[in-house]
Symmetry: C5
Subunit: 154 residues, 5 copies
């Protein structure tokens, strides 16, 4: 049985944690899921670290980032932190982030959040369950999460 | 009994350390609080590290950042540092920061500082005392500190 | 026998992983190659770390980066991460990246990607097989990958 | 007896190392001071690390930064490095920096450098000798180094 | 006998590695020098790490950086990496970098590269052979590499 961590925030305006949980449970029916909710993106790296410390085989973090430059500085710091957690533990932490300026209309933001959280939850299950060969058929295919696939250039 | 660290600065123009101390004491009446005051935000990561070294279960840092681009570079460095401390210790360090340009009028800056310090002190107590499930009911609810809540999109 | 890691992404619009594999196999006929495909560039550092953990003597990562400033923030985080992996393991990880704005026409992007992936795969084989003296004859020669060589100034 | 490290640069246009040494000696008459001079700010993190390795209880670094964006990139890297040294050693490293664009007239730059080096040397002595409570009376008081104090908002 | 590492790149348009080697040999006639040539600046941190792993007492890296913002992002990542190597090993790594936009005419770029590589190779020998006091006579003297000295303010 595999154990997945799902870390999300109270800052987010969409409950992406629930979406990720549902997707993981659907794609891997022999699994345990541990949820960890923190205030904002700067708290996600330690949440991921704690989830891995507690035995998770992989983690998905779901962050929401405001429009200002200050928000972007926090995004850079969090991204570096999430990558450091992965390097130190050799476990995948899928860093899902939605930026408020990605869409003007709330409906579009919700749609982006749902699509991105769902697709990366699926990616996490594949990587955790089947390893680094599991996504090979899509290598170079220009896949996108939150948007339409860009496709392969040829 | 839980032990909390409160790290603040002499650079700050509001005594957010006192606010955080009072809030923690009110929300967790079986606790010890250790205060650590440093000159500025670049000294906060080591303050947090020392507080955790001395046995704190969690830390809140209270930083104040000036308006210039140089101040923002220091902010990025400090944020990365605070995240590294958390990754290396697996303890929460709530990184509360007020930026001088967030409001033109001093009264508004004070109000932002008080609101943000209070709410994140509460978040810290919840996370330290009750763990990663303690904020789950607010996941995706668009909570804000220092401003009105943005709310959930649906 | 040497063991090489090839980490690429599903985000990429060119299958640079295949190009790197073919090049490595041609340049070093006594080798094993392990492929690891991840969603995007932020997943490459842990992929490289896992490949090294599993015994690879060196790794090449093949990233594709979009045009927006957000994409560039992710690029910075990933670059720092890939450098950290190398520092912690003392193994080379050739960080090959194509940025969408490098060319307007898709054909040019494909050509850049092929040239860069091929040349850096060759560089990796040289460094892994023959060490730090293997590229010395080209020191200061202004070599470029993806573009024409700039050449030596004199 | 306490041992302090003073790290400065040949790039600096003011001998802030001497100022720091004199201040520390005046404020703590039972101390040893070790000086370490390096070319520029990017060499300060390892200087601080070496000073701590050799037994220093705390370090002050005195950097000078040029006006260009390249200088600022170096500043960011150095700041992150100095924070990492502190996190890894749990020792204070006061990061004093003067930026050439802070004043147009050389006299003003000298005055800023002297004020900043002096005040942060005093801060270091307090923190090393008396710990995290030593600056508490100034928490939130809006203290500044190099400029007039901003003062507390109320 | 001291052992120095010299790490340079094939991207560079001036053979600064040769300049550094000659300078070190002239300034320290009881030394061994190990050369390590890599493709570009992002490969320099691991080259420095490997040189230190193999017993070097200090390293000089010689990087060349293009004009674009992408080049600058790589520069930031490499600088942080080189500082991390130093912190983790407590050895000096002199980070010499020439940026293409520093001069319009190739002759001036060559002159900057030669001056900077030579002066920092001398700095490295002093620091490795005679330690942190060796440059003290120049503290605060406004020395520059690649340009005329700025001089001390008084």
């Amino acid at each position: 049985m595999r154990k997945y961590g799902v870390a999300d925030t109270t800052f987010s305006r969409v409950n992406m944690g629930d979406i990720a949980e549902r997707t993981i449970r659907k794609d891997d029916n022999d699994c345990e899921i541990v949820r960890y909710t923190v205030p904002g993106i700067k708290d996600l790296p330690v949440a991921a670290k704690k989830l891995i410390d507690s035995g998770c085989d992989g983690v998905i973090t779901l962050g929401w980032v405001g429009r200002t430059q200050l928000d972007k500085y926090s995004y850079i710091s969090s991204s570096i932190g999430l990558i450091m957690v992965q390097i130190l533990t050799s476990k995948h932490v899928m860093d899902v982030t939605v930026h408020e300026e990605e869409a003007e209309h709330p409906d579009d933001l919700v749609r982006i959040a749902e699509d991105r959280a769902t697709k990366h939850a699926r990616n996490l299950v594949r990587l955790v369950r089947d390893g680094g060969k599991s996504l090979r058929e899509y290598a170079g295919k220009g896949l996108r999460q939150g948007y339409e696939n860009a496709g392969e250039l040829d």
